[in-house]
Amino acid sequence: MKPKNKFANKPGISSSFKNRYLLHLIINTKKYLLFLLILIAFLVTAVNFIANKPLLKGGESYYYLYAAEHGFYNSLTALVSLFSERILFLIPPLLSIFSLLILFKLTEKLKLKKEFVFFFVLFFILTPTFLFSFTAFSAYSLFFLLVMVGFWLLFHHQEKIRIFSLIPFTIATFVDSFSTFLLLSLQLIYLLTKRSKKPQTKDNFLSLSAGLTFFLLIFNKFVFDIPILIGPFHPQKIFPDLISDLGGLSGISIFMLILAVIGLAVTWKKKEFYTAYLLLPVIIVAYLFNTQTIFYLSILVVFFATVGFLKLFERRWSLVLLKKLTFFLLLLGIVFSTLTYVERMSEYLPLDADQEALTWIKENTPKDAKVLSYPENAYFIKYFSDRAPFSQFYSNNDGGSGGTNLDLNRKIFSSVYIQELFPLLEENGISIIYINQDMKDTLPKEQGFLFLLKNEKFKLIHSYHGSEVWAFKKE
């Protein structure tokens, strides 16, 4: 006689999950996934700490750090300015952990299937976009948290507590107009769903909440000139930014993307997924316009991937051996993708060499010096050197003086002759050039900009582990 499975009849778990170990994990989702999250966050931070690399990564982090120091406030800069510089690196992982806890609370309120919650959260934790947010300040991950807190409060049965949902919702509207629009869409979808279920009930508070969001969408745009979309903070590449396995800054695993396509295909035209279908084209268009919105796209992809994964394994397979093999392969593939990403996370900028060389610029160059480098280095230059970068990708409302100058910057770095390079540098008041290892690897060596640095008008004034500071002597 087979031993009875003690989880066999647990409520909220599909009968297709018969494996006792998997069932155990699903029952104890909160415990295990929280442990996994803390473990990954600790590992990622520890690797950078041991290698003596800056613990915060990515241009966006330094954009907010600089903005917080210089008195410009949006939701994230306000949060950043509250903490001492030494413990700032703790904020991203703490935000992630807090997001996860709220997500669990929210899924309890929504009475989602336990296995759905388990795999959704597991896939989300293993997604490079979420992993990257362990080491970087991201306005969109903060927005995600605020919206979840807002809805969690909104779902509360006590009217007095529901009012508090207006606070996170209001703060969330300061991120950017697109995010506010998404929040408004979610509120309206919730309102309409509620009304379609119980047409006679009126939820004045929910209508008020949606009305306030709409007002803030307009008000913030016209009064505070809130950007439509934040970023980008790095050169945009549609496919690598989407699929992490192609070398993007964050993104989604290719396995997750295929699962999401399966999820979309199997749920096509199913009523309960209309909300997700509505948001998908909006978010895809936003992504094509600005890949910074990968965070939102990742959430949707993970959602559909979870649906696809569950549909795939809940159905009765005619080839059971293949079912086991495919399940194993999928998990291996997702874990492999994640590990590959974690492995290269420590190589993301800024590195210790960037920090050292840029700090040297701060201490040894005139305050009005304009620094030429790749636009993605602009935020490190601003924060570590406190100097104006010549070019940057995104500069809306950050109080900085560096314009965008992307075309000019490209022109300078693709110069082949000094006759074309020198006037460009002189006309634009560039006196300092910052070259890091990443630039040396991508710029041609035998001709072009790096070759022209051999001219006597350029002087190498500082060098540290591959990062170089050059001075340009004007006529």
Partner: protein, 508 residues
Amino acid sequence: MKKETKLLLVLFILIAVIRISLAFSVPNFTYESYFHLRQVEQITQTGLPVYTDSLSYGGREHLFLPFFHYFMAFFNLFLPLTVAAKIIPNLLIASIVIIVYLIAKKITNYETASLLSALIAGFLPILFFTNSFTVESLFLPVTFISIYAFINLKETPLTPFKTIRESIIKRKFLFIYIGSFVILTLTSPLTFLLLIGFGIYMLLSLLESKKINKAELEIITFSTFFFLWVQLLFFKNSLLQEGLAFIWQNVPTRTISSYFPHISILQALVLVSIIPFVAGIFVAYHSLFELKNQKAFLLISFVISTTLLAWFRLIRFKQSLAFFGIVLAILFASFYLETDNYFKKTKLFRWRKYLLPVTIILLLVSMVIPAVDVSFQQDTPTKEEVAAFRWIGENALPNSAVFARLEEGHLITYYSNRKNMMDDQFGQINDVNKRFNDLNSLFTTRFQTQALSLAEEYDLQYFVLTPSAKEQYNLSKKFNYAVRKCFEPVYANETQIFLLKCEVKELE
């Protein structure tokens, strides 16, 4: 033994004998084969392929799937490599005859038509590169084995089995599919052709409201994830470094058109032969728009996927034509079956007895001559050229680097055991375009200073000028800049080898 089986065996043996005879009548292998020969030799000696190569490009990392090389290394244990490399790939390609017969029979259930398909597959001119020792010789037959297993998957029973033996026997096509797919995935990234074909097959079935077999869906899901996982394991670094450009294998811009040319209908007609081509197009049209036969859908899906991928320059011209040609050979069985039925039902009935002999004669006439011609026209180094590269191996300074044509790069590493400037393994080479331009400059420049500074940059000591190089670069006798004082002739036959004696220095 059934008559058809005997005929099939005779056909297989005949084609194998013709292929092997042709292979031995041409003295060497095609240029690209030498890369694979070197890998197999290395596996036989050390058990591992040359992933860290100190000779290619003066030192680089290789990334490739190694199954074919291990497979061949097994035969190298009891056969000399040059013999095994001529026999085994030709036997493998000849085995396509049997696989094509089985698939065609499954689709038409007509032995005569299936034998004709096998005949076409056996004499496809595009497959008559008898001296080509490449991954495709294993990839092509195994691909069609997996297609055959896939077609038969429907017959896999769902009921539980009483014994393991019964389970294995009744699920043999599942095991054959899994086995062949695993081999394919570890042999060539070209396996994605199969997956794209499956995708188009599902799409076509959906459009025609045909129900897709549950087992087929499951096997496609498994195959997709397995393929992706293996490719990520092997090509992780290349993907991260090159991103989507990885698909184009980092081929230099100026040579990309010779690797991924746009399909010329005329060339395609010659290489896959006119009769199967026309018949295939007819069957594809007829099956898709009139019969809506699901069995043919799968094969047509492969035709569509191959054409699309070749059109978008995602697979090489020769590879796509080979795949395309075999599928057309299979589809010919349906064409013959329909023609035969037409003869039966119409006034042409009395002419029916001539249909088979006329078809055989037409096929043989239109295919055998081009096939043998392709074999004799293969781009291989001459005996004399090989002797020159062997001479370098025996006489040149150790650790020296040798300059020769791009195509001859593998001859330098294989026969001379010296560093080359460039070969056709472009993956993960950073400055591939610059290198390619420099290589061409070294053949075409008239300036000694330019040649010397390039020689210094790539640390080249020996310069090889083969008759093929003279022809390609239109050089009459020697390099335009090769004066005796700086370029000492150390080997002077039809192929000339020069030792570099000078260097460029700044004046004091």
